[in-house]
Subunit: 167 residues, 2 copies
Amino acid sequence: MTVMNISESPDIRQAFSNFPSGVAAICAVVDGVPKGLAASSFTVGVSLEPPLVSVAVQNSSTTWPFLKRAERIGVSILGTGQEATCRQLASKNPDKFDEISYTSTDGGAIIIPGCSLWLDCSLFAEYPAGDHVVALLEVHSADVHLHESPIIFHNSKFKTLDLVRSN
Amino acid sequence: MTVMNISESPDIRQAFSNFPSGVAAICAVVDGVPKGLAASSFTVGVSLEPPLVSVAVQNSSTTWPFLKRAERIGVSILGTGQEATCRQLASKNPDKFDEISYTSTDGGAIIIPGCSLWLDCSLFAEYPAGDHVVALLEVHSADVHLHESPIIFHNSKFKTLDLVRSN
């Protein structure tokens, strides 16, 4: 074992990067303007009744204060080939949507075409979590695209999925 | 679009299964007995200062009341080849650890050998989340095993990672 003592190390990011995660584009039109962020600290199945997903957002986010006001928030789980969209949404560019094509619902939830799973959500609860908040989003409808394979972020690289053959 | 109206459908589990996730074995020795559960509603990077991860646990879990009392809780991100361990920990078998080899720390955190990432944690906060609770765990140390590829649970199947070649 080569245990890394977190309290003495700046490398918690490196340790965390070894956990594989899907990438969620969390986006809505707010006051007529598209707003969005890319989150890898996202998970589904937080509750089934009501259906809830969760996302951790930095306290310093300048986008979240807009998103949390939206009537509906779209969650697009990005698919293979959407690496550029992920980088764009994770950037500090004030015009993040300049090169991203999207559609939106009447409630303002943004859909990124080509995603592997899309969820139409609203804010359910928000809890403090250190330098982030954990937001619970209630899912009102879902759109599953089985032909679009989700992209995985792991060790700071984008990866795809392969079925375990021995399973 | 073939939107699934969640309020009219029992298929939220099916929609959620389309989100890819790593599998966390959350285990500790409590009162001398190993206790553990497998969680796919787990995520890292919930906070960096302090370092926090989160897991959603069913309110009906009979294991969580034990784990939450542990001084330290081990989180093993399962690697390729540990599918049986995942199934065993997810089962209702009262002797889940009968066929699982493990070691534990002085604080009681359980380590599953062969995992791709291991975190030594303690309970930081617990929040209500519908039919689950969201538990935040503070990370005290980490052990990264770069040679062990994490297993991914997606569409009810175990999968492995492939690097995106075009990236």
